[in-house]
C-alpha cells in the first residue's frame, strides 16, 4: 500500500514535469532502441547463419573429406577433381575407425545437362551412397530413395531436388518418368524435400541424386570420389576423430612429413563454432555501442534529477516534516529515476521493435521477435535508472529540512 502510494506519487511527479521526464527518457530511449535493434539483428544473423549451415550440411556430426590439398579452391567439376580419394579410402575409414559411425561416398558433377522431353536443367549431379539421407538429415517428399540392391546392380534411377523437378516437370508428375542425364536415360523414383538456401545463397534444391555405383560406372566413368562424408559417433570428440581420419588417409596415401596432405578435411562442428563465435563477437560490439548510449542516458538522468532535487528542496522539506525519513526520500527519488528509465526503456523497445521489422525487411533476415533481448533491455533500462538514480537520491536525502522549509 505504501509502496503503491509512493509509486503513484512518483508517477504524478513525472506527470507534473513532463518536459523534464521526457528529456530524461531520451538517452534511455536511444540506448534501449539501439540495443534492442542491434542485439536482435546480431542474434537473428547468427541464427540465420546457423540455419543456412544446417540447410547445407543437414547435421553437424559429419566430417567432410575432399581430395586435393588446401590449395584446391572452388567447386570440383569432372575435370578438376584429383583422382586421389578412392572408394577404398571410404571403406577403410568405415572399417578401421570405431569413432566413425557411417561413411557416405560422393561423386559430383556440376556441368551436366539433364533433359526431359524438350526441357533442360543444369543441376548438380550427386552420386551418393544409400545412407545419404540419414547422414544429411534429408528426406524424400514423393516416391522413394534407391535401395542398396539398386546401387549394387548399377540401376539408372534418380531422385530429384525440388528446383529440378519444378523446372523439368512444371505441371506433371515426375515419378516413373524417364529423364536423360548427359544423354543416359534414368528413371525418376523420388523427389527430395526442399532444403532452402545455403550459407552463400547456394541453391541446395537444384540437385539430382543417383546411386554412387551407377554414377561411377555408367555416368562419370571414374573410380575416385569427389567427397566422402564420415559421420562421427561422439560429436564432442569430432576434432580428435577428424585427426584420426587424417592420420589414416595419410598412411593409406603414403604421405610423410614434410609432404603435404593430398586431401582436405572439414569439421563442420568446428566451422560452426567459429561462425557462432564470430556472430556473438559482432553482437557484443553492437551491444557495446548501445551501452554507450545507455551510459549517456544514465548520466542525463543523474544530471537532470540532481537539478530537480535542488529545485524540489522545499518539497523534500515538507515531506520530511510530516514524517518522511531519509530512506523514504531515497526511495522516492530512486523510484522516479527507475520509472523514467523504465518508461524510456519501453518507448525504446517499441521503437526498437519497429526498427527491427524494417531492418529485417531490408536485409531479408527472418523476422524474429526475441524475448531474451527484450527482457534484457528492460532490465538494463531499470538497472540504468537505479544506478544513476543513486546519486540524486542520496543528495535528496541529505537536504536539510530546516533550511528547506525556511527558504
Amino acid at each position: 500500500m505504501r509502496a503503491a502510494k509512493i509509486t503513484s506519487q512518483a508517477l504524478r511527479s513525472m506527470n507534473r514535469n513532463r518536459t523534464r521526464a521526457g528529456l530524461m527518457m531520451l538517452g534511455i530511449v536511444v540506448g534501449i532502441s539501439s540495443l534492442a535493434i542491434l542485439s536482435s539483428i546480431g542474434e537473428a544473423t547468427k541464427r540465420d547463419t546457423i540455419k543456412r549451415f544446417k540447410n547445407m550440411l543437414g547435421t553437424f556430426d559429419t566430417i567432410i573429406v575432399r581430395p586435393g590439398g588446401s590449395r584446391l579452391r572452388g567447386m570440383p567439376t569432372l575435370v578438376n577433381v584429383p583422382p586421389t580419394l578412392r572408394f577404398e579410402d571410404a571403406d577403410a575409414i568405415a572399417a578401421e575407425l570405431p569413432e566413425v559411425k557411417a561413411v557416405s561416398e560422393v561423386q559430383t558433377a556440376f556441368d551436366i545437362d539433364v533433359q526431359y522431353r524438350d526441357r533442360t536443367a543444369s543441376p548438380a549431379i550427386f552420386g551418393v551412397s544409400r545412407n545419404w539421407l540419414e547422414l544429411r538429415s534429408e528426406d524424400v517428399a514423393d516416391g522413394s530413395f534407391f535401395s542398396e540392391e539398386q546401387n549394387a546392380s548399377l540401376t539408372r534411377v534418380a531422385v530429384l531436388g525440388t528446383d529440378v523437378r519444378n523446372s523439368l516437370f512444371p505441371d506433371e508428375d515426375s515419378l516413373g518418368k524417364s529423364i536423360r542425364i548427359a544423354s543416359v536415360p534414368f528413371q525418376v523414383i523420388g523427389t527430395l524435400k526442399s532444403r532452402g538456401a545455403g550459407p552463400a545463397g547456394a541453391a541446395l534444391d537444384n540437385i539430382v541424386l543417383i546411386p554412387i555405383n551407377t554414377s561411377s560406372r555408367r555416368l562419370f566413368n571414374r573410380d575416385y570420389l569427389t567427397m566422402l562424408i564420415a559421420q562421427v559417433k561422439d560429436t564432442d570428440r569430432s576434432t580428435e576423430t577428424t585427426d584420426k581420419v587424417a592420420a589414416l588417409l595419410r598412411e593409406r596415401h603414403h604421405i610423410r612429413p614434410p609432404a603435404l596432405d593430398d586431401f582436405t578435411l572439414t569439421n563442420p562442428a568446428a566451422t560452426m563454432a567459429q561462425v557462432t563465435r564470430a556472430g556473438s563477437t559482432l553482437t557484443k560490439i553492437l551491444s557495446g555501442v548501445s551501452l554507450m548510449a545507455l551510459l549517456i542516458g544514465g548520466i542525463v538522468i543523474m544530471a537532470l534529477m540532481s537539478i530537480a532535487v535542488s529545485e524540489r528542496q522545499k518539497e523534500i522539506g515538507v515531506r520530511r516534516s510530516v514524517g518522511a525519513g531519509r530512506s523514504d526520500i531515497v526511495q522516492q527519488f530512486l523510484l522516479e529515476c527507475v520509472l523514467v528509465a523504465l518508461a524510456g526503456g519501453i518507448v525504446g523497445l517499441l521503437i526498437g521493435i519497429g526498427g527491427m521489422e524494417i531492418v529485417a525487411r531490408v536485409q531479408k533476415l527472418p523476422q524474429t521477435l526475441l524475448w531474451g533481448p527484450i527482457v534484457k533491455a528492460i532490465l538494463v533500462a531499470v538497472g540504468t535508472g537505479l544506478l544513476f538514480g543513486i546519486y540524486p537520491a542520496w543528495k535528496a536525502s541529505r537536504v536539510d529540512p530546516i533550511q528547506a522549509l525556511r527558504s
Partner: protein, 249 residues
C-alpha cells in the same frame, strides 16, 4: 465514563513536553561555536496553549526545530509525551514527526501542483501507508474548504492555503501542534480564521505551541515563554503570576 476520566487524568500527569538543559550549538567556521539555544528547561503539560516569543535570532526557530524533532540537540534532554527523543535516529524522529507532531508554517509549505486533498494525504503516506481519502476530505471540510479539494495551492488564497496546512497538520491526529508564525503572511481576516482553528484544536485537548513575535497573538495563549539570545528569560501564565524561570541566566 468514569474509567475514561481517570485515564485522561493519568495522561495529563505525563508532561507533553519536558526539556532539561536543552542546548544547540552550531559550528561556525574556525571560530568558537555559536550557541543558538542555551540550556533551556521547561515543561509543557498536555492541553496547554503556549506562545513562544522573542526577537529574531533569539533562538525561537532553533527551539521549534528541536521540539519538532527536525533537529537533534547538542546536549540536554527532551522528553516528548514521556519518550526521550533527544538521541533518536532519523528514522525514529521521522516516526515521531509523523504520529505526534503537526506543523504549521508561516509560508504554508504546501506541495505545488498538488491538489489540496493530496496535500492533506501526504502525512498518511508516511504513516502506515494507508491513505484514507475519506478522512482527508473530512479534515478539509473541518477547515471549511470541503469545496476546494481538487484545487491547487496556486488557486487558493493565502488564508485558504494555511487552512489546508492546518488540515494537513491534524490529519494524523497529533497531540502536539507546532505553529511557526502561522499568521505572518496573512491579512487580519484570514489570520483570525486560522487562529480560530488553532483555538478549536486547543479546545479538543491538543497541545499548541505557537511561535510568534506578534504580541497580539498572545491573547490566544494561556502561557508565554520568552527567549532572548538563546535563553529562556521569562515563562509566565498569561493573566496569572510569573513562573519561576529554570536555568535562565
Amino acid at each position: 465514563m468514569a474509567g475514561r476520566g481517570t485515564e485522561i487524568s493519568q495522561l495529563r500527569e505525563i508532561a507533553m513536553i519536558k526539556v532539561e538543559k536543552l542546548s544547540k550549538r552550531y559550528k561556525k567556521g574556525e571560530s568558537a561555536d555559536v550557541e543558538a539555544l542555551k540550556e533551556a528547561s521547561f515543561q509543557i503539560s498536555r492541553g496547554e496553549f503556549v506562545c513562544v516569543r522573542g526577537a529574531s535570532g533569539s533562538g525561537k526557530s532553533t527551539l521549534l526545530n528541536l521540539l519538532g524533532c527536525l533537529d537533534r540537540p547538542s546536549s540536554g534532554s527532551y522528553r516528548l509525551d514521556g519518550e526521550e527523543v533527544s538521541r533518536y535516529s532519523d528514522k525514529q524522529l521521522s516516526r515521531i514527526r509523523n504520529t505526534k507532531i503537526g506543523f504549521i508554517f508561516q509560508s504554508f509549505n504546501l506541495l505545488p501542483r498538488t491538489t489540496a486533498l493530496e496535500n492533506i494525504e501526504v502525512p498518511m503516506v508516511y504513516g502506515d501507508g494507508c491513505v484514507d481519502r475519506q478522512s482527508a476530505r473530512e479534515a478539509l471540510r473541518r477547515v471549511g474548504l470541503g469545496d476546494r479539494a481538487e484545487h491547487f495551492p496556486a488557486e487558493l488564497s493565502g488564508g485558504e492555503q494555511q487552512r489546508v496546512a492546518v488540515a494537513r497538520a491534524l490529519i494524523r491526529r497529533p497531540a502536539l501542534i507546532l505553529a511557526d508564525e502561522p499568521t505572518g503572511n496573512l491579512d487580519a481576516q484570514a489570520a483570525s480564521e486560522v487562529m480560530g482553528l488553532l483555538q478549536d484544536l486547543h479546545g479538543e485537548g491538543r497541545t499548541i505551541l505557537l511561535v510568534t513575535h506578534d504580541p497580539a497573538l498572545t491573547a490566544y495563549a494561556s502561557r508565554e515563554i520568552f527567549l532572548r539570545d538563546g535563553a529562556v528569560v521569562s515563562d509566565r501564565e498569561l493573566g496569572g503570576t510569573d513562573r519561576e524561570v529554570q536555568g535562565a541566566v
